[in-house]
């Protein structure tokens, strides 16, 4: 059994004066010990709801979830001893200082007063908040608030870490720093479930990615598997003379995994490929042999939008109601 396992979770929100929302509609997950699962999905997909169920904040109508064999729904108290949580919105006491927040969390995990203070200082150092340690959080910037919230999740070095969009609002330096911290924790055996809007982040941190939409997992696999599933990489070139297009087309068709697309009056041609590097070399070789003149040639990685467009039919920024458009040349799911 995986370290963290969720089966067939269903959560329905029934807001007053608004339509009922099926936030989770039979969602299942499994995260092996010491690995990172990245949850990717458009706004409203159910990422935060999943995190809330697994961190004991809300009870699903049906389904089961276990962490290290402990039933999340039956023994929430035991689960709370094993988890560190940083939700999508910082959960900190505005009136307490950075230090006091961390110390309070430490004491509520039942650390001794000495351990709790020592750990608080250590985390302030780690998250670059030493200078702000005595200031009430009320006056913190968004990124500082985020950092103090992340620090709260690490007070006991929990076996499982839940991070809901942990780097949203962080500057590039803090983002890299956090990635490093998470990387070290995973090396030490921590299991991590993180949600993100950034493919780069999932790529860098996650061993496995689950793409969710409308409360269900619609695709899962490693970052590479997903990328090839949605078309992998793309080789694209721009010719000096459009007359050469007919010579290049068969080459691209041979290395590609889909139909060759052209644009720019037939001067720019592109195709999705499984292995970008070798495809690019092969195309370059053929082009040189034929003596064709190129303006530009390159390899494009799929963006997060490509992933969403390919798998969910709508882009990250679009809401639930966005029409399910399938871009040309990509297989509909």
């Amino acid at each position: 059994m995986a370290f963290l396992e969720a089966r067939d979770l269903r959560v329905t929100y029934r807001p007053r004066r608004a339509p009922v929302v099926k936030a989770l509609d039979g969602l299942s997950l499994a995260v092996p010990t010491g690995t990172v699962l990245g949850l990717l999905g458009p706004n409203g997909a159910g990422k935060s709801t999943t995190v809330k169920v697994l961190t004991t904040l809300i009870r699903p109508e049906s389904g089961t979830a276990t962490i290290d064999g402990v039933d999340v729904l039956r023994e929430p108290d035991r689960v709370r001893r094993m988890i560190g949580v940083s939700g999508q919105y910082a959960a900190v006491d505005e009136n307490l200082s950075a230090f006091e927040n961390l110390d309070m969390v430490g004491r509520l995990y039942h650390l001794s007063a000495r351990d709790s203070r020592r750990r608080a200082l250590e985390l302030l150092e780690l998250f670059d908040l030493m200078d702000a340690r005595t200031r009430p959080v009320k006056g913190f910037s968004g990124g500082m608030r985020r950092r103090i919230d992340l620090a709260c999740a690490l007070v006991i070095d929990p076996p499982v870490l839940f991070l809901d969009e942990p780097t949203t609002g962080l500057d590039p330096r803090s983002r890299l720093g956090l990635w490093e911290v998470i990387g070290r924790l995973v090396e030490g055996g921590t299991t991590v479930l993180l949600t993100t809007q950034y493919l780069e982040e999932a790529d860098r941190l996650a061993d496995d990615i689950a793409v969710i939409d409308h409360g269900q997992v619609i695709a899962r696999g490693t970052a590479d598997e997903l990328k090839s599933q949605i078309g992998g990489q793309r080789v694209q070139l721009t010719l000096v003379s459009p007359a050469d297009a007919d010579l290049v087309r068969p080459v691209l068709a041979r290395v590609g995994t889909g139909p060759v697309q052209d644009s720019n009056d037939g001067r720019t041609l592109g195709v999705t490929v499984a292995d970008g590097a070798s495809a690019l070399q092969e195309v370059l070789g053929e082009v040189r042999r034929a003596g064709l003149a190129l303006h530009d040639i390159g390899m494009e990685r799929p963006t997060l939008d490509d992933v969403f467009l390919g798998l969910t039919g709508h882009a990250t920024s679009a809401g639930d109601a966005a029409p399910a458009q399938q871009p040309a040349g990509r297989s509909a799911r």
Binding site: K52, D77, R80, A91, V92, M104, R119
Partner: protein, 280 residues
């Protein structure tokens, strides 16, 4: 973010009782820090009662006649009761604020007793009210209020006032979790508590009120609280007529029963509600 993560400490395993006290203390301490940091609370809890005592004992004392006693003596129990009843509303707005800030979600993912947050919060109200009582009694003594009973009875009066307000804090805490808006809590306390404290025997003898108001005042729990405190301080005017309701004929048992009922009903309700609530 360059320093090493360090070695995270290992939590101790506490017994249920030790854990309850530890969690309760930590959340109480959190509220004490807040009291220190948000000066409005201290102003409200110290200056306002002083102002009330001074205003009532100097502005109205001349015009309201209490046969066989003085208005100053009569009014003090009323001011005490009103102040502690209003003091109990902090819990409501504070919990609504906590929900807005998201800190409740943090608490609910920690291995703490779920009741501890509410215990810490209501303890905060209790301490604020205790402070208000000290300030008001000192001011009262300075302007000429006297206790005409034993110190033990006076202490019982203080305990009754604080205890009743403490029970009310739990009602307010539940309200705060239900409406989730500090502003609404403030409005509710204004719209409910002002009539409740003014249409009572707190500031004028209820016998003098027009009939419908008199009936309301006699059944009003605040009247029982005021009369209980007034009795225990020995401040009841000598020829005051007996109360027109059971609660006014037996104010002390009435307050104790009311307090017990509030606690028995609202403590479990509030704790249950806390166990399900999320921020967003």
């Amino acid at each position: 973010m360059s320093a090493p993560a360090g070695v995270a400490p290992v939590p101790r395993t506490l017994g249920p009782v030790a854990q309850w006290f530890s969690d309760g203390w930590i959340t109480t301490r959190r509220n004490l820090i807040k009291i220190r940091r948000v000066p409005d609370i201290l102003v409200f809890t110290t200056l306002q009662p002083i102002m009330f005592v001074l205003l009532f004992s100097y502005v109205y004392a001349g015009s309201i006649d209490i046969p066989g006693s003085s208005y100053k003596e009569f009014i003090m129990a009323g001011i005490f009761a009103q102040t502690v009843v209003f003091g109990s509303t902090f819990s409501g707005s504070a919990i609504a604020n906590d929900l807005r800030d998201g800190i409740i979600d943090r608490f609910r993912t920690l291995p703490m007793r779920p009741s501890a947050v509410l215990v810490g919060r209501t303890n905060g109200d209790l301490l604020i009210n205790a402070l208000s009582m000290v300030v008001m009694m000192a001011t009262g003594l300075i302007v000429g209020w006297r206790v005409h009973s034993s110190p033990l009875e006076a202490l019982a009066a203080v305990a009754l006032l604080l205890g009743f307000a403490y029970a009310l804090s739990w009602v307010m805490a539940l309200l705060g979790m239900s409406v989730r808006s500090p502003e609404v809590i403030n409005n509710v306390s204004f719209l409910v508590l002002f009539p409740l404290t003014f249409i009572s025997n707190a500031f004028v003898p209820s016998e003098n009120l027009p009939t419908p108001l008199r009936v309301f005042a006699e059944l009003n729990p605040v009247s029982a609280l005021v009369l209980a405190a007034r009795t225990l301080f020995g401040n009841v005017p000598p020829h005051a007529p007996p109360g027109g309701s059971w609660t006014l004929q037996h104010p002390i048992p009435a307050v104790l029963i009311g307090m017990a009922v509030l606690l028995v009903v609202f403590v479990p309700l509030a704790i249950r509600r806390f166990g399900r609530i999320t921020t967003r």
